[in-house]
Symmetry: C2
Subunit: 323 residues, 2 copies
């Protein structure tokens, strides 16, 4: 676990970590719990905002074992759970600046500090996508939001628009309907891809209406959102709709920028894995939404995190780095 560096003075050793885990969603915490219990004394780099995407959700009802729990509460439980096994000084609440996977041991930079490690578990997750409109960017925090749970309260008795058609759009609409006067979901297709139970909740909520086959072409307003310009993708018809809030729930992109050129990454930006969690580099594993094009579920991410820690352990044993 320690490697003596030639150019250091006698007696000095530079420490090389067994494993560094990047991320603190379900995959990161699961990996941390498993790696620590396998005596790898891992470093867990949680980032400036620990907890992953579940921090931005309300009730989670599909993580087996918890009938209904607030996303942030579940993540707090996982955080506490990981602290039971991790060394306190090995939890880093800062962002990774860059990684170097072109020489072994690998290097992970966190601001001006460099960590060397024999293996790496990437569980850096995904972030919310935006529409990519100039006025959308300009009005973020002024009526445009990527987080209904964070901001719904500010739209009490106001009219809001949600863009999207997946589970998170349904959840956002339902959550917003508790506060807002009315909620309109704008969806570019004629059908949601959300799960039936989430769709049912939306359709049975009298405060929520849906506009199908429609995209948001522009966001209107100077200091705050005043309306959206809509276009029907089938008829081409355009219209202005007044609204005070615009919530974007059109999906996520994997947080893989710093790995580009160093690992195999697919055309959508996901880390390519084989055997569940192995990447194109030996000793580098990826778990959770950073490599998951298909499922994006907390318990599945946690399962992959556990797998990554088990595979990292096997890798370190095979390399005779740990016994």
């Amino acid at each position: 676990m320690y490697r003596v560096i030639q150019y250091l003075k006698l007696g000095e050793v530079e420490m090389v970590e067994n494993v560094i885990i990047i991320g603190s969603g379900p995959a990161g915490y699961a990996a941390a719990i498993y790696a620590a219990r396998n005596d790898l004394d891992p470093i867990l780099i949680r980032g400036l905002q620990a907890g992953g995407q579940l921090m931005l959700t309300s009730f989670v009802e599909n993580y087996p074992g918890f009938e209904s729990i607030l996303g942030p509460d579940l993540m707090e439980k996982m955080s506490q759970h990981s602290k039971k096994f991790l060394s306190p000084n090995k939890i880093i609440d800062n962002d990774v600046t860059s990684v170097d996977l072109n020489s072994f041991p690998y290097k992970v930079h966190v601001e001006d500090k460099v960590y060397e490690t024999y293996s790496l578990i990437i569980a850096s997750g995904a972030s919310a996508k935006w529409l990519g409109l100039e006025n959308e960017k300009r009005l973020i925090g002024k009526g445009v939001s990527g987080c209904a749970v964070c901001d719904a309260f500010f739209f009490k008795n106001k009219s809001v628009v949600v863009v999207g058609g997946g589970d998170s759009a349904m959840e956002d609409a339902g959550y917003l309907a508790k506060f807002a006067k009315d909620v309109i979901i704008i969806h570019r297709r004629d059908k949601f891809r959300a799960s039936s139970i989430m769709q049912d909740r939306v359709f049975s909520n009298p405060k929520i209406k849906v506009i199908w086959d429609t995209v948001v072409e522009d966001v209107l307003g100077t200091d705050h959102v005043e309306g959206v310009k809509l276009k029907n993708v089938k008829t081409g018809e355009e219209k202005i709709m007044p609204t005070q809030g615009l919530f974007i729930a059109i999906g996520h992109y994997p947080n893989t920028d710093m790995f580009k050129g160093q690992l195999q990454i697919d055309e959508l930006g996901y880390i390519v894995t084989h055997d569940s969690v192995k990447t194109s580099k030996e000793g580098v594993f990826a778990a959770g939404d950073v490599q998951d094009r298909r499922y994006k579920q907390a318990v599945i991410a946690a399962g992959w995190g556990a797998m990554a820690a088990i595979e990292a352990t096997k890798f370190l044993e095979e390399k005779k780095i740990v016994k």
Copy 2:
């Protein structure tokens, strides 16, 4: 969801299920929760003994979100969780007698009742292995046990032997040491494959000793276990060791007998899967220890269960069986 059968009288319909889930470990419950939340109204066949292998463990400390929970308590939480979404009449506490996967819809027999289903999730798990000795079989329940948690209490202040080298052998030894006078682990190799943390607990427990490179060749005793015959696999040396209990913890075999000849199964009896949970038959999915040669962890099984339900939903949508 309903298929009218030609030969039935007018107005009669025979119901074909969307999905049947076999098993009630973490994979089965996760599949049930996800399938029910996707509006598939699944049947969950839990078996006569619901709960899977965690029913036979003591503390689980690696299911993310629960720092420390008794195996049976975790399974009770998952059971309650599944009941929140399942139809009460669709939970079947009986064993599957046989399945017929050679015609579609598939058929699942439970005693004299036949269920037809468009898709099937196999989460039937694994069962404890035995040494395969005649006297071992004869003395089961008379000192020979496959479940330390179930039977440890009966060995208060007695000497017991545990056979195995994995996590469950370590756990069994630790659990037995709370009751027994002394515990001897017999392992056929010179190293455990158990995780470090589990090994550490064993090595630091003064009541537990290990005999390496040794196998149990016979079990001695007429009405109850009185000793074991040991053989050192390196030296060939044989000896008799008195003991009052023999706990077998040498692993598990997947419960796949009823699928043999109907699905692709590997040489160790595991269901062969591709894309994580897909079997050799369309619409038939396998999740958890029944297809897992490598990990055998609760959270990983739960992740696979969730995947299987999501894949079953996609399959039923593609086949236009559900919208």
